[in-house]
């Protein structure tokens, strides 16, 4: 599925519509350059799930947890260096847990994932193109 967004609000809206279809246990891998709108898209997902916090970039925390109708676990794995760092953040307890995982910069964890949504956000002039695929 491909969506075009003109601005940040439309990116949030796209995330919202996408979030409405998510179920407990789903994993979403978000790829895109810095500033493409990964966290913005995640704000939409969180709205759909009535998360009590608005997502912020997890670059420094690595994982943010947003309780809601279904808990959302929001990752940014950019700072992880080895696959064993994934162990230090206890990633399995999230992936096999009771919520929805949204993972920015997921490359280092891809070998651990079997069944997930791949969302790619790329620049399109001033706007964005969002492609969604089930892997």
């Amino acid at each position: 599925m491909v969506i075009k967004c003109k601005n940040a609000e439309e990116t949030v809206e796209a995330g919202f519509k996408f979030g409405q279809s998510l179920k407990q246990g789903d994993i979403v891998c978000l790829t895109g350059d810095l500033g493409a709108g990964k966290t913005t898209f995640t704000k939409g997902i969180a709205k759909a799930l009535n998360s009590i916090y608005e997502p912020v970039s997890p670059t420094f925390n690595i994982v943010n947890e947003y309780p809601g109708d279904i808990p959302v676990y929001h990752f940014d794995l950019y700072r992880l260096e080895t696959e064993n760092d994934l162990y230090s953040i206890d990633i399995d307890s999230y992936l096999y847990g009771n919520g929805i995982c949204v993972i920015e910069w997921p490359e280092i964890a891809l070998d651990l994932l079997e069944d997930y949504y791949a969302v790619r956000i790329s620049y399109d002039g001033e706007g964005r193109i969002i492609e969604t695929e089930r892997i």
Partner: protein
Amino acid sequence: MKVLAIDTSTSSASAAVVSDGRLLGEITLNPTKAHSQIIMPVIEKLLAQLELTARDIDIFAATQGPGSFTGLRVGISTVKGLADAQDKPVIGVSTMEAMSHMFGFCNGYICTLIDARRNQVYFALYQYVDGNITTVMEPDVEDISILLSKLSCLNKQIIFTGDCVEKFVDLIKSNMGSNAVMPMRAYCVSTATSAAILAEKMYLKKEYKRIEPDYMIKAYVDQENK
């Protein structure tokens, strides 16, 4: 002598106070909210009900692994905090031995299993004779099917206990047949009492070490090459 032991190595959380081999009280909750939110209120409630304070406890203990990474860290840091504040010993007990201990009165083999995800399990195999334990298979991590085929080759009756026995019950039955003994699942979650008894024994025999995590980190890297 009073021992307070806790177990947060699996999804259940339990705390127990034992004195001279006798259980004074235990609270077990399963499943729980995050251990970090639940274990201190559980300890406080237990001590309050027993009309004890942390100062009345002579030895602190916890299961130290294997188990859930986060669960172990919460449990270990909690007892270390409590013990160090009182300048009392804090003893680590093997999660596996503690899990097996409650069935130790059955002379025979006990296999403890903790879910390590991706069809792998943390396991150990013990043999009890008249309350004395021998380790037949040291704690390790293995694919469940491979483990079960090894166990079925032993051709012995084995009691299975742990948080994932229910998950793998069909596999266990098809590999082990009537050699598999599976306790009711309600009995497979409470480990703090055993941890307290074992910690007290270790202290009296002067065979204990300050608690340290034993994560048994599964090699994610090896996973790729399988």
